[in-house]
């Protein structure tokens, strides 16, 4: 009796063991939930290589910050180039900066700040598991991002119109005569033009405005400002060497004397500013375009109601990227658009 009982129990026990072996394979999801129910809750977005949501979120976040540190260095290289050349040729940088539309630049700063707010609210509503508000905020973020790019397009178009793209042939070609509107505008800017010796001098307003080869060119007003700065003693040694012709050095290694301003040399220095402007804002715009692609994917996911209080990491990480791009612009705006504005607003020193 006893033996029979124990044999029966053995069979039952072995059956249970088999079931325990097979079940995890056959229906692992169900079985795992049963097994780990007391330990911790398994969130829907948890991937198998992580122990729990906290570990997953921490890993993903540190990965994103490593990427952002790389991005800081990526833009940092260009900021360093800016620093070097601006410290060398402050006057040329201020002149270049004053061709930019500070109002549009400031407007774009505000547009990006609003988009950062809506991005932050996207994360907020994802944390609150509110699908509709999430979708709305993502759409708003994309709208503001697009607005930024549209404004940027108009700014670039303006540079193209006025011969400020630093590559010969990439500017709008203006015939020898130009239009009447062009002539009027130019004669307003350069009232003292007759007193200026320029190497490309053809004697008149028409020749200055005409741009048959689509080349980079600056206004006579800038040349006047350099002369003024030289008279008032604001130019540094490196600027004297960089802007004037026939530079002679004394025994002490400093600039002893120099001739007339060399328009070609000075234009080249303003050109450096525009190279830096186009490369930095261009790469920033590229980041915006990539960001819009990420937002499109995020919109699709949010539309399917993927994110909730338990799982919203993709929203958070995309937000980190979006905010970083905003931060880059926060620095680009004053550094590119606002140089020497007080000089013009106050009518010089």
């Amino acid at each position: 009796m006893n033996g029979e009982f124990s044999a029966e129990a053995d069979i039952k026990r072995s059956r249970r063991k088999t079931r325990e072996k097979i079940l995890p394979i056959r229906n692992s999801k169900f079985n795992m939930a049963e097994h780990t129910h007391d330990d911790h809750y398994h969130a829907p977005g948890l991937q198998h290589q992580f122990d729990d949501m906290k570990q997953q979120v921490d890993s993903v976040t540190i990965g994103m910050w490593a990427f952002l540190a790389q991005e800081i260095m990526f833009f940092g290289g260009m900021f360093t180039a800016y620093l070097v050349f601006r410290s060398r040729y402050p006057m040329a940088f201020a002149a270049g900066s004053n061709y930019l539309d500070a109002f549009l630049g400031g407007l774009n700063t505000l547009v990006l700040i609003v988009s950062s707010l809506t991005m932050a609210l996207t994360v907020y509503y994802a944390q609150k598991s509110k699908r509709n508000l999430q979708v709305l905020m993502i759409i708003l973020t994309m709208m503001f991002g697009t607005t930024f790019l549209v404004v940027k397009y108009f700014e670039y178009a303006d540079k193209y119109e006025h011969g400020l793209v630093p590559v010969a042939g990439w500017n709008k070609v203006v015939g020898e005569t130009g239009t009447d509107a062009d002539l009027e505008e130019e004669s307003e800017i350069t009232p003292e033009k007759e007193s200026l010796p320029t190497p490309t001098d053809a004697g008149g307003v028409k020749a200055e405005k005409a741009n048959p080869n689509g080349e980079f060119h600056i206004s006579q007003k800038d040349i006047e400002l350099v002369k003024l700065a030289e008279r008032e003693g604001y130019l540094t040694e490196s600027e004297k060497i960089g802007y004037f012709r026939d530079v002679q050095f004394g025994a002490d290694g400093k600039v002893a004397s120099f001739g007339e301003i060399d328009v070609e040399k000075y234009t080249g220095k303003v050109k450096i500013f525009f190279w830096i402007y186009f490369v930095m804002t261009g790469l920033h715009a590229l980041h915006m375009i990539i960001g819009l692609g990420i937002m499109l994917w995020l919109l699709y996911k949010a539309w399917l109601n993927t994110f909730s209080a338990e799982y919203y990491t993709p929203v958070e990480i995309s937000g980190l990227y979006w905010h970083f791009v905003d931060i880059v612009w926060i620095f680009l705006f004053p550094l590119l658009y606002l140089l020497g504005r007080h000089f013009l607003a106050g009518g010089g020193h």
């Binding site: 952002l68 609003v114 950062s116 490196s238 004053p334 140089l339």
Partner: protein
């Protein structure tokens, strides 16, 4: 994540940070029109950069939630800017001390 507590400053907080950023932008623009160079050369740029750093700090702490992040995230964020500062410092200590002759 819900069990780790609320990791944000709520809608009023977000709007507050947004307000600070907008004010910062407008102040940046207006200050650029005033001549501060009489204090010392580069004062205008210094003020613009100080405002930009303040704006960045608010974005990083509150919009990017670093305020509630682990020490490791703090370290990553600070390290990025620390290396940037090293790059600026070493580049400029070279360029600013070079002789201008021969260029």
């Amino acid at each position: 994540m819900a069990e780790h507590g609320e990791q944000h400053i709520g809608i009023p907080g977000y709007l507050g940070v947004f307000g600070i950023l907008v004010v910062g932008t407008i102040v940046t623009y207006l200050v650029a029109l005033i001549d501060l160079e009489w204090i010392f050369p580069g004062m205008n740029t210094l003020v613009a950069l100080l405002i930009a750093f303040t704006k960045m700090t608010f974005v990083v702490l509150f919009f990017m939630h670093v305020r509630w992040s682990s020490k490791l995230i703090w370290l990553s964020a600070v390290a990025g800017f620390f290396w940037l500062a090293i790059m600026f410092a070493y580049t400029m200590q070279d360029y600013l001390t070079r002789s201008v002759v021969g260029r």
